[in-house]
Amino acid sequence: MIEVTYSRHSDPRIAARLCADALRARQPDLLLVFCGGKLDPETVMVVLKESLSDVPVVGGASAGGITRQGIGYSGLELVVIAFSGWVTPRILIEEMAPDEVTAGERLGRRVADLASEDAAVLLLYDSVASRPPLRLHPASQIVSGFHAGLSDRQVRLFGGGLLTDMNLSDGWVLDGDRVRHHLAVALVFPPEIEVVCEILHGCRPVSTFMEITRIDGADVYELDGEPALVVIERMLGLQLGESQGQELSLLATLGQKQGDPFAPYDENAYVNRLILRASPSNGSVTLFEPDFFTGAQVQIMARDNSLMLESVRHGVASLREAVREDDNQLALYIDCAGRASARSGAFREEAEMVVKGLDLPVPFAGFYSGVEIAPFQGYSRPLDWTGVLAILRRRPR
């Protein structure tokens, strides 16, 4: 059995107590918790454990919570998913040391030992590695390491980066008993469970293809031989020299089209990378992920709120139809924090549309994330500015 409870309170004790009291299961096997960044996680964990027979608590920080009971991103939301019985996933934990690739690889090997073929695996990690300057744990490196560790084993990897707020202030992970940093957690679901994912987009290209002519990790120095920042500023029609350039993440992304570059526009063909910051001194922009490379053809992408809402409408309808007759256990929505209306400027909360649109009798939980991870063209990839709507269901026989 899977249950979802939600609360919103400035006192972490009360928030945790409300969630614990609302659960029917008094001795669940595992709690997956998404805890608003303004709540004290230690207190939340203690109260949940006290109330529910010292249950292991995994999960971590979230910029906000999304459930049928409520949606919010004040940092005071608490979402608790309680697993009891056969649906309970196994937990694997790896510290991100010495680096993200190695951690991902170790985790991949352990998952390969434990998981059945095509098993559903939820990956969570704390997004913020350090600040200032702000550095994120690159999901692309965790995921590439993970795939290397998996070797020839196939699993359906989905997940997200954990953040305390939309300003990327911090992130932390609950490892079952403690609050920790620099940690990747994999929830490996039993063989009877499979996951179906729908990626909800919201960006469209607003430029012709440009070639990355100089890049170092996540720092893009040149596009078509010109300083990347100059190119982007020209497109935006504004000078970012005076500001810190962090607001670029509110404006544009760089997108890489997969497959035939000249095929008609298809939102599902794009991998987007948000811009973390700009450096006017050397004309570079820093992306959320370091997985683009010299010679890659990219386009400047605009966040398009109308397209985002349209994508939600279509994506949710399509997923609902796909799983309507199935034995669904849990709907989990991993939603990029930037899509929230306060940040995107969308006239509607797209998370609300997802909750209302998925009118199936299945527990629903979601959180606002840093980076989203989902199976993409046969290989799980980290994505930016997306919503990943996952349905965990009993595998058809």
């Binding site: 400035s10 004040s74 005071l76 209306s341 995107s344």
Partner: protein, 456 residues
């Protein structure tokens, strides 16, 4: 038809491609710009709705909070939700204009309250940006939330202040600016308003409770008073009727003697009762006049103990005192002070079983004096103590039934002690005796062989 050579056609196509690329990028830039303008407009509209939304949500708190102090946390939650800031705190100035602030509520700091802060000069409104110099008051204010970007408002009249803070200057929010004065001051005003309303509501509720209690006490008092007066009066009337001329009841001379005794006892009781009621009434109205003189404590205690000796002997109680070696003088109304001691001794004797002890003890204090009438009697429960100090509220026990008093002794004693500028308190526990403490202020005490020479 104009046929172009192959190289010319390629050149034409290249020019066409360049044109489309240029146009595509220009249209894209335009689209990007429009999209951003639309988002920006929505975010600004959302911000402008913040104050209205905040007011609406904040006023709802009044009905959902139990006390004024409980409003702070939810108020900050509403604020952070609406302003999208990372942290917030409410502060209270320790003394008006002192610049010393205590943080009363904070949100986003993991449950801990920041340390008190002192400001060299308290601004009414303040904010920091990346261009702000870290000097007073920015230095002190940014330390409160441990964030570089803060927005501050202070209301000198109430001594309350509100601070909001962000880790980043501009991400979800734009940098703080002058225009944010409306939001932060508006939010603080709303908080002060709901706080005052809640305080008024609580005070009104308390006043109502006290009025209801007073009304109930008055009714109870009147009912008890009627009963207390009627009992001896009935005895007087009944026995008088039996002895009256024309009565069908022919009492024997022996019976007439007994009836006269009953009538006299009842009349004396009635007189004592009326005197005490008048005393109590006079004390309650603050109209008791005292004639303060220096009197030796030991003399007054010995007089009271002497007067109680017969009653104590009759009930098998031993009396004693422990007044210390040093002669002590009290500036009191001697008659009234005796009345206090007599009342307390009488009560102590009445509620102590045979074989028990009643003692008068003195505990000199650094300031003033404390005098205690201690017994080894039945005591009372802590929750019964306030009731024992109310008029006609004798606690139900075998002693109160066997030896009824007027029920005004303790309230009168307390009223008289208070009239002397002191206080009367009770320490007691069931079956562990009672100690009634009389505290008198420093100016009512003199130590020495003789009283002070100055005129009272």
């Amino acid at each position: 038809m104009n046929v172009m050579p192959q190289s010319g056609k390629a050149g034409q196509l290249e020019r066409e491609l360049a044109y489309y690329r240029r146009e595509c990028n220009m249209l894209g830039a335009r689209l990007l710009s429009l999209q951003e303008e639309q988002s920006q407009a929505f975010r600004e509209a959302r911000r402008s709705r913040t104050v209205a939304k905040l007011i609406r949500e904040a006023y709802r708190l009044i009905d959902h909070s139990t006390s004024p102090e409980a409003l702070g946390g939810p108020m900050l939650a509403i604020l952070l939700d609406n302003t999208m800031c990372d942290r917030a705190a409410l502060l209270r100035e320790d003394r008006p204009g002192s610049g010393h602030f205590t943080v009363t509520h904070a949100l986003g700091l993991g449950g801990e309250l920041p340390a008190p802060v002192s400001l060299p000069a308290t601004p009414g409104f303040f904010f920091t940006t990346s261009r702000s110099r870290i000097e007073p008051p920015a230095y002190e204010l940014t330390a409160i939330l441990r964030l570089p970007y803060i927005l501050w408002a202070y209301d000198a009249t109430s001594g309350l202040a509100l601070i909001l803070g962000n880790q980043s200057e501009s991400n979800v929010s734009r940098p703080f600016e002058e225009a944010d004065q409306e939001i932060v001051e508006g939010a603080l005003s709303v908080y002060i308003d709901i706080l005052l309303r809640k305080r008024a509501e609580v005070e009104m509720r308390e006043a109502r409770r006290m009025a209801e209690e007073a009304s109930s006490t008055r009714s109870r008092f009147l009912a008890t008073l009627t009963h207390e007066l009627r009992t001896p009066l009935n005895a007087i009337i009944g026995f008088s009727e039996m002895m009256a001329t024309g009565s069908t009841f022919n009492p024997t001379p022996e019976q007439i003697g007994q009836y006269n005794t009953h009538i006299l006892t009842s009349a004396n009781h009635l007189l004592a009762l009326i005197n005490e009621i008048l005393d109590y009434s006079s004390l309650a109205r603050g109209r008791t006049s005292l004639s303060l003189r220096w009197a030796r404590l030991e003399d007054m205690v010995q007089e009271s103990l002497g007067a109680a000796t017969a009653f104590a002997a009759e009930r098998g109680i031993s009396l004693g005192s422990q007044l210390g070696e040093e002669p002590l003088w009290l500036k009191v109304d001697r008659t009234r002070f005796r009345q206090i001691l007599d009342n307390l001794l009488s009560n102590a004797i009445r509620f102590t079983p045979a074989g028990g002890k009643v003692r008068v003890e003195v505990a000199p204090e650094a300031e003033g004096i404390r005098l205690c009438v201690r017994d080894t009697g039945i005591g009372m429960l802590a929750e019964d103590i306030p009731r024992a100090l109310e008029p006609f509220q004798q606690l139900d026990n075998k002693f109160s039934r066997s030896s009824p008093g007027t029920g005004l002794g303790l309230p009168i004693a307390r009223g008289l002690v208070r009239a002397h500028g002191g206080e009367l308190t009770i320490e007691s526990a069931r079956d562990a005796g009672t100690c009634v403490w009389i505290s008198l202020p420093e100016e009512a005490l003199h130590r020495g062989a003789a009283p002070p020479s100055a005129k009272p």
